[in-house]
């Protein structure tokens, strides 16, 4: 076992390698799949000239390796290319939308993370009693519902019937004041919170239970420590790393939830942009968005990894 710095460096290098392979996968996935791309985009009624033009634009005639290197070079220098359908600069379109998406995800996380940890602790404290059981029953329900189902139910009840919040995010303007912005995304935030809450709570519960069942917790109890001291001095230091792990994994999951929720509430974010351009078969946009989502996802997973290495006493204090 090497020193902690070298283990960390190794993990980061591995993450970068993974990103590189993912870029390859996304590129290959959109290039080498069967079917004539130009035909797919333009449909059966396309004229031969239009097809030829599009093929030229797509660069289908150039060797794939060259096109990949071009694309990768663009990615590394921060140039995502131009959209096929609108001719718009992708950087510009994504920049604005990414900010919107992160704004939405940020607020969902701010609510979901503390709530999940609190409820997870509650479930541990009242293990196998009614708070625990009702929490796990709710978990089962929300895990079984796709994001859009929760979205429409809440939209219908809170937005349309009760009229508490704006039912859709159509009116969202990034330059409006915070309260107006929050009103238009209140229901989406709630939906995202519910979606990740269940997983996060379940995993927090499992992680803390795992620690609470260790023999050293028994030792602490047999020292006559109060319940509070047992938890704060012995359980807590060992729970930080698994809980942070849980949070990171679920934030990564949030990234996926965002895509659907944005479509449900017509919120001008990355997810809606991606889905829109999948339908239009605008490959450069899809590649760029896919790469950004994958990067965020891998990044969060990497952080989870690094935290658990940093928290491992065996690695922090080698023999």
């Amino acid at each position: 076992m090497g020193s902690i710095a070298s283990v960390l460096a190794q993990r980061i290098a591995l993450g970068l390698l993974l990103l590189f392979l993912v870029s390859l996968l996304i590129f290959v996935g959109t290039i080498l799949l069967p079917g004539d791309v130009a035909q797919q985009i333009l449909g059966q009624s396309a004229t031969p000239e239009a097809l030829a033009n599009l093929r030229e634009e797509l660069g289908v005639n150039r060797p794939p390796v060259e096109r990949y290197l071009d694309w990768l070079g663009g990615l590394l220098t921060g140039d995502l290319g131009t959209a096929l359908t609108s001719g718009q600069d992708i950087n510009e379109a994504i920049g604005r939308r990414l900010a919107n998406t992160l704004f939405l995800a940020f607020w969902a996380a701010i609510i979901a993370v503390p709530l999940a940890i609190f409820l997870g602790l509650l479930a541990v404290r009242y293990r196998d009693r009614w708070p625990d059981k009702s929490i796990s029953a709710t978990t089962l329900t929300t895990i079984s519902m796709p994001e859009f189902v929760i979205g429409y139910i809440l939209m219908f009840i809170l937005g349309v019937k009760l009229n508490w919040f704006s039912p859709t995010a159509v009116g969202y303007r990034p330059d409006a004041d915070l309260l107006t912005r929050l009103d238009s995304i209140a229901i989406p935030i709630l939906v995202l919170t519910l979606v990740v809450l269940a997983h996060m709570m379940r995993m927090t519960r499992a992680a803390i239970l795992n620690v609470m069942q260790s023999a050293y917790i028994e030792t602490a109890e047999l020292k006559g420590l109060t319940r509070f001291a047992v938890i704060s001095r012995h359980a807590f230091p060992n729970s930080i790393s698994p809980v942070i792990n849980v949070i990171m994994l679920n934030l990564a999951y949030l990234v996926v939830g965002v895509v659907v929720v944005e479509v449900v509430f017509v919120y001008p974010g990355m997810g809606q942009y991606l889905v829109d351009h999948v339908t239009k078969r605008d490959i450069p946009v899809v590649q760029a968005c896919g790469m950004i989502f994958a990067t965020i996802y891998i990044g969060l997973n990497l952080i989870a990894d690094l935290v658990s290495i940093l928290a491992n006493p065996r690695l922090r204090h080698p023999r």
Partner: protein, 545 residues
């Protein structure tokens, strides 16, 4: 008469069990136990697994592990019934009056905190000592317990010290708040035999010097005989016998206690080697794939037909690796195997079915050595079918004969492993090995997971079968008593090499090399004063320090 430190009356303990496909229900696991313990005295609690000894020990801390609940009786400590007292009082009892040393110190220390912080925690929390007083007390205890660098060892993290050292740190943790009673729950069971003796001596010295009272829990009567003043024998939650150590060891009254005292008294006269050995290991040197380190170096041993070679050593000595080399799971780097006069190919895949049949194996953990989804009939019947092509009624008859040989009846044939006791499981594994009619069976620690009386039964069975079937055993064990009981010849292994090899009488008589002396002398003997005798006459320090 003054009140004893601890007075336990009619202690009853229950637990909730969750059998699959049944409603959970409560059972009683300790059925009314009484004892007294005076200040400064040591009581040994002894019994096999399921006797309830740990549960009783923890009850003196008003603690039930898992779903265990104290359902009745009285436990008086320092003049109050701790089962009736307030929660705050129970905490101060645990913090200062009674403390606990568990079997696995490695799991019982918090991995994220320094040893010293954990050792002094209870004393400081309960204001018995100031932080600096407690720390200097801890250093004194570290020294008393024979730990190296007592001044600084506390600044290490639990994973940075060895198992034997950590067990002593745990004892220091228990003694630091100056308790009146310490519960030692199998504190040396997980340790190697040569380490066990040092930890045992350290604990005994600490008990003596601090004048603390102790309850010492173990399954090994020979161990408890060294430290305790009185012994209580328990079986399935009932008290069997209770008396002074002198009386229990020298003149037990109950049949069960007599059996425990006379355990490992099997006599097996040594056979002289025959001309042609059944297996010769020649110059075996082996290492695991992708490692440079040799785990076995230059091993040369022979096994003779119908006889037993015991390979004895501590964990890491390479004895199990030798079994893997012989079975072909780990082809040796250098050296060869000659079986019944024929060269044996080094790797499993290239051996013929006949070669495989001649060489069978029995494992330490019978539970995982049998497929839980196969019945006893299938488990024993498979080699019968596989090697001899027997089917239907013929196969069934052979299985019944084999069940008979292992002293189990025909009604076991349709049972699953989960429905058998530990000893029965190991018997079925023996029958599976015998079913192949092998010339050699490798027995890898086959009795070490079993309770002493059950283990005795298995050893007797193996000896009987050897006489009937004329099968040779390669018997791998860490337990010298087992070796004495079963071996014809012995190989003592240390750090991957054969340290001493020859007939049983030769290996077990002086003059010894230093390691063999250490190993042999470390095995607890069932007599009073053994520990002191050994410590005086030793030539080599054990490795676990």
């Amino acid at each position: 008469m003054t009140e004893p430190l601890v007075r336990v009356r009619d202690l009853r303990i229950g637990a909730t069990v969750y059998p699959p496909n049944e409603k959970p229900h409560d059972i009683e696991i300790v059925h009314g136990v009484d004892f007294d313990l005076e200040s400064g005295r040591v009581l040994g609690l002894i019994g096999e697994s399921g006797a309830g000894k740990s549960t009783i020990g923890l009850a003196t801390l008003a603690f039930g592990r898992g779903g265990i609940k104290i359902t009745g009786g009285e436990v008086w400590v320092n003049g109050r019934d701790i089962l009736q007292t307030s929660r705050t009082d129970v905490r101060s009892l645990r913090g200062g009056e009674v403390s606990y040393v568990s079997q696995s110190a490695a799991a019982s220390f918090n991995p994220a905190k320094k040893i010293l912080d954990q050792v002094v925690e209870a004393s400081v929390r309960y204001g018995k000592f100031s932080r600096s007083e407690a720390e200097s007390r801890a250093v004194d205890l570290f020294e008393q317990l024979g730990l190296p660098e007592p001044e600084t060892i506390g600044n290490r993290y639990p994973h940075q010290v060895s198992g034997g050292q950590l067990q002593r740190c745990m004892t220091a943790l228990a003694l630091c708040p100056q308790p009146q009673l310490v519960i030692f729950d199998e504190p040396t069971t997980a340790l190697d035999v040569t380490t066990q003796i040092d930890v045992l001596a350290a604990i005994k010295k600490a008990i003596h010097e601090t004048g603390v009272a102790a309850v010492y829990i173990t399954h090994d009567l020979a161990v408890v005989a060294q430290v305790s003043d009185a012994i209580m024998v328990l079986r399935l939650g009932d008290m069997v016998e209770y008396g002074t150590t002198q009386q229990i060891i020298n003149s037990p009254k109950q049949e069960y206690t007599k059996a425990l005292v006379s355990v490992r008294s099997i006599e097996h006269p040594e056979n002289t080697p025959t001309d042609e050995p059944i297996l010769r290991c020649i110059d075996i040197t082996a290492s695991y794939p992708r490692t440079k380190l040799d785990v076995l170096t230059d091993v040369n041993v022979e096994i003779h037909a119908g006889q037993t070679l015991a390979v004895v050593g501590e964990s890491g000595s390479g004895k199990s690796t030798l079994a893997r080399v012989i079975t072909g799971l780990l082809p040796p780097r250098i050296g060869r195997l000659v079986f019944d006069g024929q060269e044996l190919t080094p790797d499993l895949a290239s051996r013929s079915r006949e070669d495989l049949r001649q060489l069978q194996m029995i494992y330490q953990m019978a539970d995982v050595a049998m497929n839980p989804r196969h019945t006893v009939g299938t488990i024993i019947g498979r080699p019968v079918e596989f090697y001899f092509g027997l089917k239907g009624e013929e196969k069934r008859q052979r299985v019944i004969d084999l069940l008979d040989e292992i002293e189990m009846g025909i009604d076991f044939i349709d049972r699953y492993p989960a429905e058998l006791s530990g000893g029965q499981k190991q018997r079925v594994c023996i029958a599976r090995a015998l079913a192949a009619k092998p010339k050699l069976i490798i027995c890898d620690e086959v009795t070490s997971a079993l309770d002493p009386l059950v283990a005795d039964g298995i050893l007797r069975l193996l000896l009987d079968l050897q006489r009937i079937e004329n099968v040779a055993y390669l018997f791998i064990t860490h337990d010298i008593a087992t070796v004495r009981a079963i071996a014809d010849s012995i190989a003592v292994m240390y750090q991957g090499r054969v340290q001493r090899y020859g007939g049983k009488s030769k290996v077990l008589s002086p003059p010894y090399d230093d390691y063999t002396d250490l190993l042999l002398s470390s095995v607890p003997e069932m007599r009073l004063g053994w520990l002191e005798d050994v410590l005086e006459n030793r030539q080599m320090e054990s490795a676990g320090n």
